[in-house]
């Protein structure tokens, strides 16, 4: 019996079949890497811009765009936007980052529910902007709480009369106007050739629906995320490509399970819907549900904004003392 087993093992060991099987197994294990290395001509990096724009958002988006520019495999960027704006300086930083990226590679934007104010500022340098019919874009302008008239007293002493307030209301309006002009000037610099709005019409700071925005040139065409990714790949001349969702911390998340499985990236995770689109942006939120689905009692906290019967929820939150592109 033992001799028969030994003979079988010897035969197997001498057979080519075993080595072929082992070779196939090892080859299949390595296949995704090889497939990736040869089948893809480059990567389209997806950079989400969601929620209120503040210093953290700006740092995160800047980091993602810097990673995209530094990665020689990234040939195009898709900005996935769902934000009603935020801080003025943070929005300007994001504008400059997008502008720099657009100088180096195609940048295509897909607007989800909203790209208003500072978020529109961010995407203005894009080569092409897609929006959906229910997206809201525009609101090109700046708002701020006017400083109160205060006077240095015996309780608070200052070295100069304007140290407390920074200047009077009239001077403050000039400051605000210069911010607004920079914003409008930047939008015209980037999209002046496509805008059907005059400078003063844009300064009115209206919001527009996606279809209205296509008409007035704030947006290029109607389309969603997929259209943006495909457009970005086309612009970069990629027939086959990977799609990678960037993360501020350098980890990578994936839009689809097949991309996720194929990738060799360390610390990989599937992307969550909230990460892509964030929470509801401030400003009017247009819902497409019957009014019966809206239950005011679902507001858990007393300071939740009221949900009107029309399905339009208005959140107007302005932090005191700050300047906002909101």
């Amino acid at each position: 019996m033992a001799s028969r087993i030994r003979a079988l093992l010897t035969r197997i060991a001498r057979s080519y079949v075993l080595f072929v099987v082992i070779g196939v197994v090892v080859g299949l294990a390595l296949a995704p890497v090889a497939w990736n290395a040869t089948s893809s001509e480059g990567t389209v990096a997806v950079v989400p811009v969601s929620g209120a724009i503040d210093g953290g958002t700006s740092a995160g988006v800047s980091s993602m765009l810097q990673q995209a520019r530094a990665d020689s495999d990234v040939k195009a960027v898709v900005l996935l936007v769902n934000s009603g704006g935020g801080g003025a300086a943070a929005s300007e930083e994001m504008y400059l980052q997008t502008k720099r990226t657009a100088q180096e590679m195609p940048v295509i934007t897909s607007v989800d529910a909203s790209a208003a104010s500072g978020a529109y500022y961010t995407i203005a340098p894009s080569d092409h902007i897609y929006a959906k019919p229910a997206s809201t874009v525009g609101s090109v302008g700046v708002l701020a709480t006017t400083p109160q008239t205060l006077e240095p007293t015996t309780i608070i002493s200052t070295t100069g009369p304007n140290k407390l307030t920074g200047g009077d209301e009239r001077e403050f309006n000039y400051i605000l106007e210069s911010l607004g002009r920079a914003f409008v000037g930047a939008v015209f610099e980037q999209r002046g050739d496509r805008l059907e709005l005059s400078r003063s019409e844009l300064e009115q700071a209206r919001i527009y629906s996606g279809t209205q925005a296509v008409q007035n040139g704030l947006v290029d065409s109607i389309g969603g995320r997929q259209a943006a990714v495909e457009h970005a790949a086309d612009e970069a001349g990629l027939d086959s490509y990977n799609v990678r969702v960037m993360r501020p911390d350098g980890t990578v998340r994936f839009l689809s399970r097949s991309n996720y499985i194929a990738s060799t990236a360390p610390e990989k995770k599937m992307v969550s819907a909230e990460y892509l689109y964030g929470e509801n942006p401030s400003g009017p939120v247009f819902l497409m549900v019957p009014a019966a689905y809206l239950e005011p009692s679902t507001n858990e906290s007393t300071d939740s904004p009221p949900v009107a019967e029309t399905g339009v929820r208005v959140e107007a939150t302005v932090a005191p003392g700050g300047t906002h592109v909101a």
């Binding site: 009239r170 210069s178 610099e189």
Partner: protein, 337 residues
């Protein structure tokens, strides 16, 4: 043996030097062709972005008609919940006082009595309408040479905080009954201009029409002003071209903000003469004009004048649109009916 060791040490040191040199020079060699171009931002050119501030200089120098009295009284209405502060009127009061005039407030009682002996009556942004009796008193006053200055405002939204939370109230200039008796009216929408403004769109630049005697005013700035109209009146000051009224209409125009009809003056803004605004542009000259207008009033107790009689010297009609030059009326106003 030491010599052999020395050779090896030299080789070692040289090797380290070569490795360090490669490590130091390598990145520079590798990145040599990746020089970044600095980002050009012509859209942020300060010359384009920073608005030029209007100068805020000058003093109120009144120069009334030599025929005017050296002294007199101006009565300011306080009986109709008028919304103005001391800062709102101080530059005007100062100009009047320097000309030897008294300033009195009418707070209650018989208006005719309060206006007796006065040269001018100033009504600023009343929160309640004038009743018929008061209107008759004012018309009696202007019919006998007294001067009336009305200052209105567009509808304003006032935000006030209290223990019960924040409340928003709408404020209206209730001048309709009084002004309409002089065939004048104040609009409810505020004016704005995105191109000709003092800092922000609601601070509209206004320019004299050339009619009337607004000497020395090239440009004035009005702050959240209302358009005013007067049938057969003289438009003294109009907003700059491309002015809008608040609301969603797309109509632009040069709206009148100061109109005069005989011895009645109507202005669509009170803030231009406020303590911290009256020097902006040529606002000080406008303040001086208002002061002179009041000083030159000369109320004389009746003989009665037929209330419906028009003076007949006005020509043209102004309906608040862009047409210029509504009248050839002289600089000396005639008593209103």
């Amino acid at each position: 043996m030491w010599r052999e060791l020395g050779k090896r040490l030299v080789v070692l040191v040289l090797t380290v030097a070569v490795v360090v040199a490669i490590a130091a020079g390598g990145p520079a060699l590798l990145q040599g062709d990746e020089e970044r171009e600095p980002l050009q931002n012509p859209e942020y050119e300060p010359g384009e972005v920073v608005p030029e501030a209007m100068a805020a200089t000058g003093t109120v120098e009144t120069n009334p008609d030599p025929a005017a009295d050296d002294t007199g009284t101006v009565v300011i209405d306080r009986a109709h919940s008028n919304r103005f502060t001391r800062a709102d009127i101080e530059p005007l009061v100062d100009a009047l006082v320097r000309e030897g005039y008294h300033v009195e407030f009418y707070t209650e009682g018989d208006l005719a009595t309060a206006l007796e002996g006065a040269d001018a009556f100033l009504v600023i942004d009343p929160a309640s309408e004038y009743l018929t009796g008061d209107i008759d008193d004012v018309r009696q006053f202007t019919g006998n040479g007294g001067r009336l200055v009305m200052i209105g405002e567009p509808d304003r939204t006032a935000v006030s905080a209290s223990l019960f939370g924040t409340s928003i109230t709408n404020q209206e200039s209730r001048l309709t009954t009084l002004a309409s008796r002089y065939r004048m009216s104040v609009d409810t929408e505020y004016l704005y201009n995105q191109e000709n403004a003092d800092g922000t769109f609601k601070h509209v630049v206004a320019r004299p029409t050339g009619d009337g005697s607004l000497d020395g005013v090239d440009e004035a700035a009005v702050y959240t002003a209302a358009a005013v109209t007067a049938e057969n009146g003289t438009v003294l000051l109009r907003s700059a071209p491309e002015t809008y009224k608040s609301g969603s209409d797309e109509v632009t125009g040069e709206y009148p903000v100061v109109v005069q009809r005989n011895n009645v003056l109507l202005l669509g803004d009170k803030t231009f003469m406020r303590g911290d605004r009256y020097r902006v542009a040529d606002n000080e000259q406008l303040v001086a004009y208002v002061a002179e207008f009041m000083i030159e009033g000369d109320y004389r107790a009746p003989p009665d004048v037929d209330e419906d009689e028009e003076s007949g010297v006005d020509t043209g009609t102004d309906n608040g649109t862009t047409t210029n030059g509504t009248t050839t009326n002289g600089t000396t106003p005639m008593p209103a009916a």
